[in-house]
């Protein structure tokens, strides 16, 4: 039994390391002396720990994905699963947390905010998102979501002397709780639906597992469909439950019409926190969404894929509304943080297109890969853009108006170039990674037969080019209005440049970056019912070695 606990712990090593790291940071904050030395110690311990956690997560990426047909290797009584999918999300989350922490150092100093608690909260929040990605039980998804959210509520109010920060925390908390209520209610409905179905079909329920366990639910779906009678997926209770589940997760991902908190919260929260939450909350939510869709409504099983149909229209509408509203409202923004908030809403819409495609047989695997790739690139370009805002600020203030960035290229050519990279990538213009991310997602959408949605997304994303290029125009073609000669260097610059490099790298050699994880073992990921129509790669050209 001890052995099994150890295996379980080992499988969840990445989030556990992050949690322990958070505790260590807290203790360091208490234990060691005061001053910059302590700050630096905490800073580097956090970063080092995250690197270690990310490396540990790499091991997970070799485990085949859980899904119907692939026996998942579950842990902790079936409630958690460690697979390639979860491992990739853990890596993204480590990157997000790492970048967010990297860009925070000077910011915290200038605002004289306590770094120990701040870093610990970021780490805890990250672990919550990781648990969401690794959860195999709706209850665990919920606990993960709450860990993620509660830490974020506190973080957004972390600059507690600023009214905007406090306001954003309260708003986020109230609306977040509201959404969590729906999520929980949805889970309760699913619990009920599964329980009723199990009772009706006379299936046994193993002790210790719950009706909220995804494996149990998957089996219930399958058997209720096979034994004839009304399948559970046709039960209004189940459908309503899943609908509420979507609502709860859509809130976290800032999907229209559950997005309204995002601009206010993003604007008010401390900028590194905004950067962190704009990515981490989305990654966690999308991980859970894909996981739930992959198992509750498995695309790979044609008979059950029928169950996904009611949600097609819903997700279609949500994605379309999100893309349109996000892009249209972003145009009017003069505040860069608000603009990025709306832009992140729009990007959530693009990602949702991929999630939707992943529920269609045949396109599922490509769509999942596309979403993961999108989240990776989104992480770099979005956090990078926020890092720029921090980098270019000084003395506790930030240039938040887009007009403030006029003429930046003349004073800080490197900064302007990095910002241009992020904007081009966000706009989806080729050399940068954002282009390929969009390309992959839209391609998978077309494969899934969602041509209309793909075309809509494509057309509307052209609007995006306008407001992203606005910033580039301001930086390169306007006369300076502000003096950027003394800017905040340090971590923010490192984070921004790192992200810019990664954005370009992902854009130039996407498969080169991703081949060890995404592309290689696609055929084995869904071996039994894999309907993924990945065309076989041309056999490698035989490598000829010289024979002396």
């Amino acid at each position: 039994m001890n052995q099994s606990v150890l295996t379980d712990l080992q499988a969840l090593i990445c989030p556990l390391v992050v949690i322990v790291l958070g505790m260590i940071v807290l203790l360091l904050d208490l234990g060691t002396g005061d001053g910059p030395a302590r700050r630096r110690l905490i800073y580097f311990v956090s970063l080092g720990g995250l690197v270690a956690a990310a490396l540990l997560a790499v091991a997970n990426t070799t485990i085949p994905n859980a899904g119907v047909g692939v026996t998942p290797l579950t842990h902790f009584g079936g409630g958690m699963v460690a697979d390639r999918f979860g491992g990739l999300f853990c890596i993204v989350l480590c990157i997000i947390a790492g970048l967010a922490i990297t860009m925070s150092d000077r910011y915290l100093e200038e605002k004289s905010l306590n770094s120990g608690e701040y870093y610990a909260l970021i780490l805890f929040s990250t672990s919550g998102a990781m648990l969401m990605a690794l959860a195999y039980d709706l209850v665990n998804i919920f606990v993960g979501l709450e860990i993620l959210s509660v830490a974020l509520y506190i973080l957004s109010g972390f600059a507690r002397r600023e009214r905007r920060s406090e306001e954003s925390a309260v708003k986020y908390f109230l609306l977040g709780s509201f959404a969590s209520g729906f999520l929980l209610y949805g889970m309760a409905l699913i619990y009920g639906a599964v329980g009723i179905a199990l009772k009706n079909t006379g299936l046994l329920q193993p002790t210790g597992t719950s009706f909220t366990n995804l494996g149990v639910i998957a089996r219930t779906i399958q058997e209720s469909a096979e034994t004839g009678g009304a399948p559970i997926t046709a039960s209004p209770l189940f459908i309503a439950g899943v609908a509420l589940l979507i609502v709860g997760l859509a809130f976290k991902a800032a999907i229209v019409p559950f997005h309204s908190y995002a601009p206010d919260v993003y604007e008010g929260a401390p900028t590194p926190v905004t950067a962190f939450m704009s990515a981490a909350a989305k990654v966690g939510a999308f991980a859970a969404l894909i996981r739930v869709f992959g198992i509750l409504l498995p695309a790979d099983n044609a008979s059950i894929a029928q169950a996904a149909v009611p949600f097609h229209a819903v997700l279609w509408g949500l994605a379309a509304a999100t893309i349109v509203v996000g892009n249209v409202l972003a145009i009017r923004q003069t505040n860069i943080k608000r603009m990025l908030a709306y832009s992140s809403i729009a990007h959530a819409g693009y990602i949702l297109v991929g999630v939707l495609a992943s529920s269609v047989p045949g396109a599922s695997q490509n769509a999942k890969d596309a979403v993961i790739y999108y989240l990776f690139t989104y992480t770099f370009m979005n956090l990078g853009a926020f890092a720029m805002v921090i980098w270019l600020g000084r003395d506790g203030g930030e240039y938040t108006s887009i007009a403030d960035y006029a003429g930046l290229a003349k004073q800080q050519p490197l900064a302007a170039a990095a910002m241009a990279v992020f904007m081009l990538s966000l706009a989806g213009i080729p050399p940068a990674a954002g282009f390929l991310a969009k390309l992959y997602v839209f391609t998978s959408a077309v494969q899934a037969g969602l041509t209309g949605l793909a075309v809509l997304a494509l057309v509307v994303s052209v609007i995006g080019v306008y407001y992203y290029l606005n910033i580039i125009v301001a930086m390169y073609f306007r006369d300076p209005v502000n003096d950027f000669s003394s800017v905040r260097a340090g971590g923010a610059r490192a984070a921004a440049l790192l992200s810019a490099a990664a954005t370009l790298l992902f854009g130039f050699i996407p498969a080169g970056v991703f081949s060890p994880t995404i592309q290689r073992d696609q055929p084995t990921a869904q071996p039994i019912l894999g309907a993924a129509e990945k065309s076989p790669l041309p056999p490698a050209v035989a490598v000829v070695s010289p024979q002396p």
């Binding site: 039994m1 099994s4 949690i19 026996t71 290797l73 579950t74 902790f76 009584g77 079936g78 409630g79 958690m80 605002k111 306590n114 608690e117 610990a120 909260l121 805890f124 919550g128 039980d137 209850v139 665990n140 606990v143 993960g144 860990i147 509660v150 830490a151 509520y153 506190i154 109010g157 972390f158 507690r160 002397r161 600023e162 409905l189 009920g192 639906a193 329980g195 009723i196 009772k199 046994l204 329920q205 193993p206 002790t207 210790g208 597992t209 719950s210 366990n213 494996g215 998957a218 089996r219 039960s235 209004p236 209770l237 309503a240 003395d395 506790g396 203030g397 240039y399 938040t400 108006s401």
Partner: protein, 214 residues
């Protein structure tokens, strides 16, 4: 019958709690609501949960709530300046629609007959071994030989709950432990957001507000 009575009063107290503008009364209704829910737990044979509900929620937490409310001396909020009054009826209307919707869904889905207690009576049959073990299923159970103390007898008792929360083979160990992180975060949060300002902080804070954002 008992279910209808206490279920109904739980609903009513819940609604009144939201509707009363005075926070003290609101809190008292919440206490009442918690009691009703505790009775519902009892009806489901969850004795321990019912006890804990009364002791912890109604007893400890609500008393704390009331203390805080009284200490802060909150009055009834002034609503005369509210510009968005029109939203209230709209919200109520939509809430009613939603409630009706879920009512219909649940009513339609729940099979006829006594809803909850029936499960308990039939429980032994639920645990009958199936003729052929499902391969998907074996994976859910970490170890077939492991101690499984949760039976209909122990379900809902301290033993049963203890087993499901602390037995590593059970599904609930992990969320239970993960919740401790949540509580830790909450503690940190209260410290961070509520702690007093240090003397040095205020000076910089004042200057910062002036400096503001560009």
């Amino acid at each position: 019958m008992l279910f209808l009575l206490f279920g109904g009063s739980a609903l009513v107290t819940g609604i009144t709690m939201v509707l009363f503008p005075n926070p003290v009364r609101s809190a008292l209704f919440l206490v009442l609501n918690l009691f009703c829910v505790a009775v519902l737990y009892l009806l489901l044979n969850a004795y321990f949960l019912a006890t804990v509900q009364v002791i912890v929620y109604a007893g400890a937490i609500m008393v704390l709530f009331l203390f805080v409310i009284m200490l802060l001396n909150l009055g009834t909020p002034d609503r005369s300046l509210d510009k968005l009054r029109w939203q209230q009826p709209a919200a109520v209307g939509i809430a009613v629609v939603l409630a009706a919707l879920f009512g219909a869904v649940i009513y339609q889905s729940v099979p006829a007959g006594p809803p909850a207690s029936a499960m308990m009576v039939e429980a032994p049959t639920l645990y009958a071994p199936r003729a052929e073990p499902n391969p998907m299923l074996t994976n859910q159970i970490s170890d077939p030989n492991q101690l499984r103390a949760i039976t209909p007898d122990t379900m809902g008792t301290v033993t049963g709950i203890g087993q499901s929360l602390y037995n590593p083979g059970e599904a609930w160990l992990f969320p239970f432990e993960a919740t401790s992180i949540l509580l830790l975060i909450a503690v940190i949060g209260s410290v961070v957001l509520a702690k007093r300002r240090l003397p040095g902080e205020d000076a910089s804070a004042a200057g910062e507000r002036e400096g503001g954002t560009g």
